[in-house]
Symmetry: none
Subunit: 207 residues, 4 copies
DNA sequence: GATGAATGAGCATTCATTCAT
DNA sequence: TATGAATGAATGCTCATTCAT
């Protein structure tokens, strides 16, 4: 077995454990047992327990940001374009989230208990996404497709809250209504809320 | 000092520590040092470390749910009534959140690392609020003030995401744009998003 | 068992182990096993392994310096007074050393392997003794009982070398000729060397 | 690179590390890093960590004993011859010590923490020197140049204490008065003490 | 009710040594 | 000869919990 292999084997073993049990409750001995290597091997590849988490988070960030950035390419001219573009992004994002549940759990459900560096890395990933949202909103505001009543930063904060919170509920709140929806369905409902709030798409409701 | 006093002293000492450091990194010895009592005293008042957290969370839940429930009393007849009512609630909620930062941090930033019972208690508090949102949306749907395209549960999930996520950013994400807003301002922006999405209040934007 | 008791029990158990095996090879588990207490008890009384050694060394220093200082009280007027006074001191010192073999071993045979703080504490104890020698020599020089050809500091360094080295050989070099001598005998020979070098007391040798 | 080269490279890398940090605190990984070879290479050349130290010590012993033995060649007829001869030896010895500080540090400051075999090898080197002293003293006693009041073994022990202790202070006790002296100066003062004790050369002091 | 000394299971990390290539 | 990844026993230290006083 060469270096790269075991490093990856360890990361693959660690991710589900970290996602489900959290940082402190995941023991290095659990990880190596799951990975099928000796305890010392862990420390050949990673400086300490914190390091493997950071490694996993940074790798995950690369993929995730790629998903986000590639989702925002389209030119938008009308409100309809915008919602369509947003919906594409959301479908991609939710699809990615579903097939990377463990990473998303690490990202969204790591609390104060973890080390500063880990919290900081997570915050930075989430910030990057929120910033992508903010840029997109800013562009739409420049094109006069969205009002400038509220700053794009504030709107992005709310949008990020909406998106991350919904992903969390969709993927992890067993028993909730949302958990039964497909990625396409959540995406559609998110976009409806994103642009029209609780009242939804104008066409879908007369008042 | 009598029982009740020290029990409260311990809880008062524990809350900020738990909020800032999380469950595992808060040692019982930290709590008693801060409270100024002996280690043994802790175990006279609480079965174990988990117990004090549950106690704090349950006490906090009583106050918080009271805030939520009392905010939803008004009868609403028009969209305008609804947004006004919602805005009242949000102001109350954000005001409460701001003056109970530690408790909110415990509620919103406790991750997978904590014990099952603690996560469960937190989930249940958040569920109760989400359920209040759901009931309110259902009432509005019955009165035909909101479309029924999407289930009230799903809408409530999204609303809860929006509200909790925004509180988190507002209170804890130092450096973010939102953190500079007053409770009233966040409330207003939340309600705008709640009912009209990114596009905001109809009057504020013509397209 | 009260605090003081166990703290002392641990120190009493640790000293012989540390003296014979050295710092690294003495395991905390060895100490507590010998002391008959739990591993945690050790850490209640001492911050870490280094701490107990420092504690032992400081306690030992108190006694040892007391022996040295109380040995230097006499007024000396003649060379004969001086050698008699020195011999008294040496007898006391060697007697103390013999009945505190473990402490002396810690003091004289702790090498580079120990922590900086420990080496520093040991150096400081030995320095104190060497300084006492230096003061005494200085006084004798002022009284013109010893030449000032060489600085009292240098002479003290050589005297300290002679004394500590001889103690080491006397107590720990099994098989050596010196080990068979009594405290009085070593003291006498040391003093002879101290004042007359290899040639010994003038009366004992004509050339 | 051939065997011999790397073996020497490893020893050259190890000596300063062992001297300064001691046996336990010098890691094999430190040595190979310093030597610029792989960890496995170390174990091709040396059975284990102990082995390299023994190798270094034995090599050092060869040189050192050579210095000592070659210093004792002169025929001595008078006291003046003896002190001159001794001074030659001391100058050689102190000069050697100064240019082999690391080896001397290993020899003089290795404590109980090291392995038995290492301590034993060191003891044997020091013994050899002490024995050389003893032989020399014995010869002088036979020639009636030194009294036989005390056994040559005991006198050698004291002389060895004086010499080794002074070397230690001269080379390693930074801040001490002795450290500022040249090899010639220490040698002179040592010889003065060796033959006349604290009172020094007869010519230098009248009383 | 309160104290604080004592307990001991638990865990991260280190490092000498091995061995397949 | 040389490499460096892999091994796993060893150990210092933490901290929730207990309990005699």
């Amino acid at each position: 077995m060469n270096t790269t292999e075991n490093q990856q084997v360890l990361m693959d073993a660690a991710l589900p454990l970290l996602a489900q049990k959290g940082f402190h409750k995941t023991k290095v001995s659990d990880i190596v047992k799951e990975a099928g290597v000796a305890q010392g091997t862990f420390y050949w590849h990673f400086k300490n327990k914190e390091a493997i988490v950071l490694h996993i988070l940074k790798e995950g960030e690369r993929y995730l940001l790629n998903v986000i950035y590639s989702g925002y390419r389209k030119q938008v001219g009308t409100l309809s374009d915008m919602t369509a573009s947003s919906q594409d992004l959301m479908i991609t994002l939710f699809t990615y989230a579903k097939s990377n549940k463990d990473y998303m759990q690490l990202l969204l459900k790591t609390g104060q208990d973890s080390d500063e560096k880990i919290r900081s890395q997570i915050a930075s990933t989430l910030q990057a996404i929120e910033q992508a949202f903010a840029s997109n909103i800013a562009r739409a505001q420049e094109l006069h497709m969205l009002p400038t009543t509220y700053s794009n930063q504030t709107l992005a904060a709310m949008l990020a809250s909406l998106v991350f919170g919904t992903i969390e509920r969709w993927l992890f709140h067993e028993g909730d209504a949302v958990t039964t929806l497909t990625a396409e369905e959540v995406a559609q409902q998110i976009v409806s809320f994103e642009f029209f709030g609780l009242r939804g798409f104008p066409s879908s409701h007369s008042h």
